[in-house]
Symmetry: C2
Subunit: 650 residues, 2 copies
Amino acid sequence: MAEYKDLDRKVIKLGKQIVKMCTEAGSGHPSSALSLVHLVTALMYRQMRYDPKNPWNTGADRLILSEGHAVPVVYAAYCELGGVAGTQARPVTLKFDDALTLRDAASLLDGHPNPPVGFPFFDAATGSLGQGLSVAAGLAAAARLDACDKTVYCIIGDGESREGQIWEAVDFIVDHNLTAVRMIFNSNQLGQSDFVSKQQSPQALQAKLEAFGCDVRVIDGHDWDQVFEALAAPVGDKPLAIVAKTVKGWGVKELSKPTSHGKPLEPGQVEAAIADLDAKAAELGVTEMADVPAVELTTPSSVNRPAIVPISAGAFEDALRNVGWEAIIEKKKLGTRKAYGAALAALGAADPRIVALDGDVKNSTFAELFAKKFPDRYFEGRIAEQNIISAAAGLAAGGRIPFASSFAKFLVRGYDQLEMALITNANIKLCGSHAGISLAADGPSQMAVADLAFVRAFAHATRADGAPALRVFQPSDAISAFKLTELMANLDGACYMRTHRPDVSFLYDSEETFTVGGFKHLLDGEDLLIVASGYMVHVARKAIEILEDKAGLSASLIDAYSMPLDTDEILQVGDDCRGQILVVEDNYLGGIADEITAAAAASDLGVRVKTMVVGSVPKSAKTPEEILQMVHLSADEIAAAGQQLFDEAD
Amino acid sequence: MAEYKDLDRKVIKLGKQIVKMCTEAGSGHPSSALSLVHLVTALMYRQMRYDPKNPWNTGADRLILSEGHAVPVVYAAYCELGGVAGTQARPVTLKFDDALTLRDAASLLDGHPNPPVGFPFFDAATGSLGQGLSVAAGLAAAARLDACDKTVYCIIGDGESREGQIWEAVDFIVDHNLTAVRMIFNSNQLGQSDFVSKQQSPQALQAKLEAFGCDVRVIDGHDWDQVFEALAAPVGDKPLAIVAKTVKGWGVKELSKPTSHGKPLEPGQVEAAIADLDAKAAELGVTEMADVPAVELTTPSSVNRPAIVPISAGAFEDALRNVGWEAIIEKKKLGTRKAYGAALAALGAADPRIVALDGDVKNSTFAELFAKKFPDRYFEGRIAEQNIISAAAGLAAGGRIPFASSFAKFLVRGYDQLEMALITNANIKLCGSHAGISLAADGPSQMAVADLAFVRAFAHATRADGAPALRVFQPSDAISAFKLTELMANLDGACYMRTHRPDVSFLYDSEETFTVGGFKHLLDGEDLLIVASGYMVHVARKAIEILEDKAGLSASLIDAYSMPLDTDEILQVGDDCRGQILVVEDNYLGGIADEITAAAAASDLGVRVKTMVVGSVPKSAKTPEEILQMVHLSADEIAAAGQQLFDEAD
């Protein structure tokens, strides 16, 4: 095995650095990193077709480290290779000892893989486990669209493979025959608090992966011959999964104990660890060997991707005609979810970057309008929302603009995946249909009523460039849904749109424009301002009619379709309406209502804000009207609350 | 097969009712329901040991309908059986035609299984797919603790088995040898928008289930002999999974089409459907047969469960001694997560109803203090948070008080499961550790910063009894963590507690009491009120010292440890502090800050509220101080903001 002596030498060098960098950081996972030292060295010094000097090469192989806590081994290798980090505008060439900055506030080497912090070698923030394989699948799907034969390596922990999403990803990979993904299960048999279950043993993993339709190779993850044979195995009919048996804390006695997970050595223990690794070097016969480069990498050509240009969905009417809905133009009534589908189909025709995913509800979200026209760019995800969101993040990393849809309630399933995508700055677009309670009959298991509270948090957290980590949109009619879908396609970054089940009348002219942070002042009154969004705009309009008919009051109406919301002007409108604002929402507290109250509490205008939200856990009712009445959000009750607010102000 | 003629007759009767009730409702899933008509009839008329007149019998077999949309078949059967619904205080005996009230606002028969609406035959709200098997596992675990040999049947759709949580549940069932669960996969091979993937074919399901360690029987789900043989098969060494091949829309041509998912027949189509079923009856030779009862059920004895009595964790100091932490009593410094573990161990000793689950981080959440003392009542869930939360809901349905823990960030993974548990009114207690950003070094993949926004939504949604669907607690020191853990054990309903990584000084006397909605007025000043919770209380204290030292200002400090929060008195305190409130939080917008601003905007006091939250996506830093500085939440910056607020008011 003489031909691996240079790599053996490198493994010892990286092993020592892993120990040191975690001790220097005072935290980190050296034992997990050491279990991967041969696999990662094999990948990063030989197997991967990439150039450490250009992590932005679109044609290069990629590595997803799904078990993100093992990242010190990748950092150590990348620094040793003099890899480039930072941004394309401000690249930084790393040096060997930069690895020792691990976890520093000022370091590009974050505690877990975190590309936007300045480590573009990775495509996804990982560390919340079980998500990387889905991202790898998305990258492989994007590569296929690029007609690029890159390989996407994905390293998954054995304990991590307990996460159900791993199996969603394997199903997805097999379904779409994404053989460009090479799965590597790191079977060190130790979790954080205990040995892994026998359900995650190498034998169990092999049996499961085979049952899921993979070719499986079980190897010794510290044996170069076995490692390279598996990594370089030709692509077959089935996706290849490697189950690599490894030793946690390889080479360092203190870090090989079952209790060593996630614990760096104390400074006083480092010397003994170095001695352990020196003994390993002696055993391998590489003690006296010079620090040879060991690198044998080939750099693939970059891939030409579709140009980044503004994307037009064209005229609303044309989009309706294109999906056979001419009649709607006259009828002027259409559900927001249907307009989303029509917009998606129009966008797909306009730009090859647009791709879509859905979770077996494409005939409800209307993603099917896209799926039918662009089957190559549609990825059916079946009933597995977590995988869909992470796969979308992978497609985004591969240069595509993915629109992923399901019922808004089912997207809750993937909120951790969404958050990881937001940490990544992934350019994903989510559309949650049947939002709020207007779907009525199916009951609360299908109603998204807490989603706005969650996504609003991210709408107010900025990325490094100052943009919101997530832009949130709630169209109230088909035209705004159409225009906002187009807007999402053109925004750089993650967006979340809610659509609704019922068909509703058009509120806007098809030439209307919509913006991030925007709202529409739909009706102008002087006694009261009502703020609503989505389906509730229609209910609020009815309430305003009642107020006018019964009490002779005139109310302003604002359609607050965006978060973060530009609240200054809204407060001003409220101030002009006797300082009285009523916010109505068919979801729980935490959405638009709080957007307005937070602004009001911080302002000096002294406007008073009353909010009407879903205040109790809903149940089924046959119609939107019935369910709104049940939770005290009917037009009558909104009118009554408006009247009361007016009376109190008098 | 003469012995099944009564059941054949029943199947025809129920089939007709399924068609009618969905048409009457104008929505529903008759085709899925019909695919289960034999299996459900077999279970509910013969196989299950239960009494339809007493759904509260603690010793009875249970049925979890994980594919909740198929519920019309269960409702039809239960009504036909004259089953009892409603509540124990107000039981309602259903009649055959009550099934026709499906989805009515006033009906006990919700669109999907929804026990608290008044259908206690079910233990869990289902309809968001993939969760029922975990609940079944929890019920089986509870039954084992009851020394009860009940069987927990669980019906899962084939398309639904794409959800990764199903496989988390199978792992959990095998790990804990929960052979009381009998899994039934309904393999009708049709999803909503398409045929199911070949990855969910009967063959694939069989291979997967075998690889996961189950005994598998593949049967014809409309053949009585095969159905009963499988349902009644003796319990073996491995859990039994039945893959039942069925026909979607069984017996009704119009509902057997691939496009029939989730669509009721139009009123004009019902007659033809009835004729189809009459033809089936003729084929089966049961046309002329009287409507015989067909019921052959045995009722098991109820099980004696531990009495519902107040649970005391005892003295804080004793609890510390019991886990070997005497030294802490003098040191007066301990992390909230550690106090949680000590409390859990004390509660476990006090009451056998207390059980715990964790996701391979029990040495970080400190659930291990319980696990070591009560291994029979500890259920290691490994790295699979979705399953843990749903299994906790099952344990709660089985009369236990489950505490489930992981990093708060990883619990995000189970937010849909949490929401379904809240719809169920499940008595679960979640503890998310390492909340906020004070864990620093590991970076954003481990930081819960949006969790408060999500859980707050449920803290303001009431259950039928008027209590919040979720009570949220954020202890600031070990004593409050200890007392709040005890409080959670005694509350009827779901609770969510956040604990933190750092060791912090005691703020309270060990005799202090804490309440739902409560807060503590920790410091009394007159120039400004600062509201904080959790770790930030300590940072706010430092800020107040700075304000006093540098500017001679005196600030009040409130520890707002509870949501929903009693805000009236807090606003009053703010009013007494020159009407200036500063809220500081180390998480994104949507938590305590909004709790205060919402109250302020609705009040007439005219207090002004400034909020300081995490306004950008965080990254790693080595210490809490460094990361707080990075996001502008350091004590110095809080003091500066306080000063500014004071100056502006002047």
